[in-house]
């Protein structure tokens, strides 16, 4: 393998590993902040124990999200130096703003939250976890505006730089800020993160409810998460719809690969059963069609024209199979989660909720589902825009560093795989350990201390 292929694998692996932690951080910070706020409002101790228990799991996950995030910033320069040089003028700005506006906020106030229980007032303490939640969500906004620019570059022109090379320079910061692609991605990504957190809390609560441990505590956790999860799954589907329309408008080749449409046609049917065959440039199976559904979904117009893959030169088509299957499975999982969250909202109201063993078991084993859906979503977004690193402007192959050797990248790829592999094992081990342990019973000393300042 060459430097390009190895670097692509390394970016994919490190990015996807980082994105195991990010979505839970996005959602669980909000849930933890909500639990603590309820405690401040009601003085009901169960809310406090909830903030502390879920907060502990939040912290284990958060620390890995932070440390694996640094890799992302370094890697643009290390492996994608040509890309970085080419786009730094416009792509660097949102990254630098992300660090200044968002990373400081989350990283500073997470310290306040962990260590500040007896040093600041209850309200200030609850505020600190809200600031962490704000920081993580703002961070998502800036990085997705940066990604949105790669998907649909706006507000730039190409010029010759001081060293005689072509590069993209920013001419309209406002266009970067208002890029619809970035905003749709932002809402789609953060709400999918909320779903991850909701299923995480519901799954772990289900485990405890199955064992009848701390039933009140976990029923309340489950119910809050179910409501949060249902609202979020609906938002994910809605924002996914907006995203798809944006893709249809600006990334026609991606749309064609997502739906595996080979020939340009109007009023494209949606086949529930479809198997693409890239070599033959056709679909080997097309069955159970919903008339004009693809056009309707992509353009909100049943007669909308989808440009088929055959109308793109072969070297400008994204890999069809991974894009198509990832999209299909993601959408299917999305509807599964919406259904399960709705059932959760309905059942968790019942006094005998803990007796619904089968449902609780399903929810326990559904913890990985939103994680998988999120990863697949990124495969659609990133594989689907190949061969471009900046859509229509710069090819991925032209963005890779020129000064690094195959040996170096083989070494770093092996290093990352082994190292991240062991971090992943540690993370799962610790999360399981603390999730099973359940909430601390004794927080009396703390309450007394807090009473002084409260």
């Amino acid at each position: 393998m060459d430097v390009l292929t190895l670097s692509r694998w390394q970016f994919a692996i490190t990015c996807m590993f980082h994105f195991i932690f990010v979505p839970l951080t996005l959602g669980l910070s909000i849930l933890t902040a909500y639990f603590e706020t309820r405690w401040v409002q009601t003085n009901d101790e169960t809310w406090l124990r909830m903030a502390k228990f879920w907060g502990k799991l939040f912290l284990i996950n958060f620390s890995l999200g932070v440390v694996t995030g640094i890799t992302m910033e370094f890697q643009f320069g290390m492996n994608w130096a040509e890309y970085s040089r080419y786009v730094g003028d416009i792509f660097g700005a949102p990254l630098a703003i992300e660090a200044t506006v968002a990373f400081f906020l989350e990283s500073v106030f997470i310290g306040v939250w962990i260590f500040g229980w007896d040093r600041i007032s209850k309200k200030a303490h609850a505020l600190s976890i809200w600031l962490v939640a704000l920081g993580t969500n703002l961070s998502a906004l800036w990085i997705l505006l940066a990604n949105g620019w790669m998907q649909h570059p706006v507000g730039y022109h190409l010029v010759t730089d001081a060293m005689g090379q072509i590069r993209a320079e920013m001419i309209d910061f406002g266009a970067l800020l208002t890029n619809a692609n970035g905003w749709y991605k932002f809402f789609h990504t953060v709400t999918s993160g909320y779903v991850v957190a909701a299923f995480f809390v519901m799954g772990i609560s289900a485990w405890h409810l199955l064992r009848k441990s701390n039933p009140d505590f976990f029923k309340r956790s489950f119910r809050t998460a179910a409501i949060f999860g249902l609202a979020s799954t609906i938002a994910v589907v809605a924002t996914g719809d907006f995203s798809a329309i944006d893709v249809a408008k600006h990334q026609p080749a991606k749309l064609a690969a997502m739906e595996s449409v080979w020939d340009t046609q109007k009023g494209v049917d949606f086949f529930l059963l479809l198997v693409p065959d890239s070599d033959a440039e056709r679909n080997s199976i097309e069955a159970i069609g919903l008339p004009k559904m693809v056009s309707l979904l992509a353009f909100h117009n049943p007669d909308g024209e989808v440009k088929g893959l055959k109308d793109f030169p072969r070297d400008l088509r994204p890999p069809v199979a991974p894009t198509f299957w990832s999209f299909r499975v993601m959408v299917a999982l999305g509807f599964y989660m919406m259904l399960m969250a709705a059932i959760g909202v309905w059942l968790s109201k019942k006094p005998d909720f803990a007796d619904y063993g089968l449902f609780l078991k399903i929810m326990l084993f559904s913890i990985p589902v939103p994680y998988l859906a999120g990863q697949l979503g990124w495969v659609v977004a990133e594989v689907g825009r190949q061969p471009w690193i900046v859509y229509g402007v710069l090819k991925t192959a032209d963005g890779v560093s020129r000064s690094i050797s195959t040996g170096q990248v083989v070494g770093s790829l092996l290093g990352f795989t082994l190292f991240y592999g062991s971090l992943g094992v540690l993370d799962v081990y610790l999360l399981t350990k603390f999730a099973k342990k359940g909430p601390d019973g004794d927080i009396g000393g703390f309450i007394k201390m807090e009473g002084r300042r409260g």
């Binding site: 620390s63 440390v67 640094i70 320069g77 290390m78 700005a93 200044t100 310290g111 229980w117 060293m163």
Partner: protein, 342 residues
């Protein structure tokens, strides 16, 4: 003032503040094995940096982000040329962060001992790698139109290693002085004694560094052509002398403040010596990356300047508030009686 110059200064300030803030965390890590005897003492050390280490590390990410946004060519070439060194740095940063967070999560002596080792080793590695990287930047790296002509091992040249040694000793002393104002009892006495012992080696290596810089590099040329700039290295030397003076008077807060100033001015000495380069080429100055040939467009720099001038003061304000909230020394009670402590 021209925009490139503003961003050159900001670039220097970001690195200097990063080294000042993470320097004492890295220093604490390096000396933790030597001055903490018991599990409780080890926990106290980690808890002295607990509330702040993560926020301190963000200065590094911001320095990296600012390099990307303001000097993209430098960012691209620096990170790809120093690939292997940065990879090691990255692994060390990741292990360091994880070890603070995970050490206390399992009550098992072997588990804790492994993380304790990781804390010490990553401390040494971080100080050394930053020192070696910056030593090579100060000296210039072998690059021309064809790219980079060195390897990871060619970075380990005498001047690079000397700068590595300077960072190691300076951070170790800085970390010891931090512990002098953040711990109590025996731990505090040991930190004071270690800080005292480290001062002479720091001074010797710093002087060697300056002499060697004059002989082997162009780092000091700016100071001879613009004598007004001499204020910066003089402030570095003055701060280091002040550290000794305050230590002798047992004025530990002042000694730590002087140590902060030393780290700041040592970094500024290097950065101002580079001007107008960000990374000089050791082959031919034509290939040096300067603030002019590697900068972003005036439009981008203007926007980034507005963002920096609004948000950096806000960040500094809430960071000061946080340091005030957690200004108390960390005692045995703090780590034994609180479930949140590391």
């Amino acid at each position: 003032m021209e925009l490139q110059l503003i961003w050159f200064i900001l670039w220097g300030v970001l690195w200097a503040v990063y080294f000042m803030l993470d320097g004492f965390v890295i220093g604490m890590q390096m000396i933790s094995g030597a001055i903490a005897k018991t599990d409780t003492e080890k926990r106290i050390l980690i808890n002295t940096v607990g509330p702040v280490w993560d926020g301190n590390e963000v200065w590094l990410i911001t320095a990296g982000g600012a390099t990307f946004a303001a000097f993209p060519r430098t960012y691209a070439l620096m990170f790809s040329y120093l690939y292997t060194a940065l990879l090691l740095l990255l692994f060390a940063l990741i292990v360091r962060g994880v070890s603070f967070e995970f050490r206390g999560k399992v009550d098992n002596a072997d588990w804790k001992a492994s993380w304790d080792k990781a804390i010490v080793v990553t401390g040494f590695l971080l100080a050394l790698l930053f020192g070696v990287a910056f030593g090579n930047i100060f000296k210039g790296i072998p690059m021309d139109a064809a790219g980079y002509h060195g390897t990871f091992f060619s970075l380990l040249n005498p001047y690079g290693l000397l700068t590595g040694a300077l960072f190691l000793l300076l951070f170790a002393m800085h970390g010891a002085l931090y512990l002098c104002v953040k711990t109590t009892g025996d731990l505090c006495r040991r930190a004071e004694s270690l800080a005292g012992k480290l001062w002479i080696p720091v001074l010797l290596v710093a002087v060697t560094f300056l002499v060697y810089s004059k002989i082997d590099t162009k780092l000091l040329d700016n100071y001879f052509s613009m004598p007004a700039l001499m204020v910066i290295p003089l402030a570095a030397v003055g701060s280091l002398l002040a550290v000794k003076l305050f230590m002798a008077k047992k004025a530990w807060y002042k000694a730590f403040a002087a140590s902060c100033a030393t780290v700041l001015f040592v970094t500024f000495t290097g950065v101002a010596g580079l001007f107008p380069n960000l990374i000089p080429s050791s082959l031919d100055p034509v290939w040096s990356l300067t603030i002019y040939n590697s900068s972003s467009s005036p439009y981008t720099l203007k926007i980034m300047t507005v963002v920096a001038f609004i948000f950096v003061p806000i960040v500094i304000a809430y960071k000061i508030w946080v340091y005030r909230v957690f200004r108390a020394r960390v005692t045995e009670d703090d780590v034994l009686k609180k479930s949140e402590a590391y």
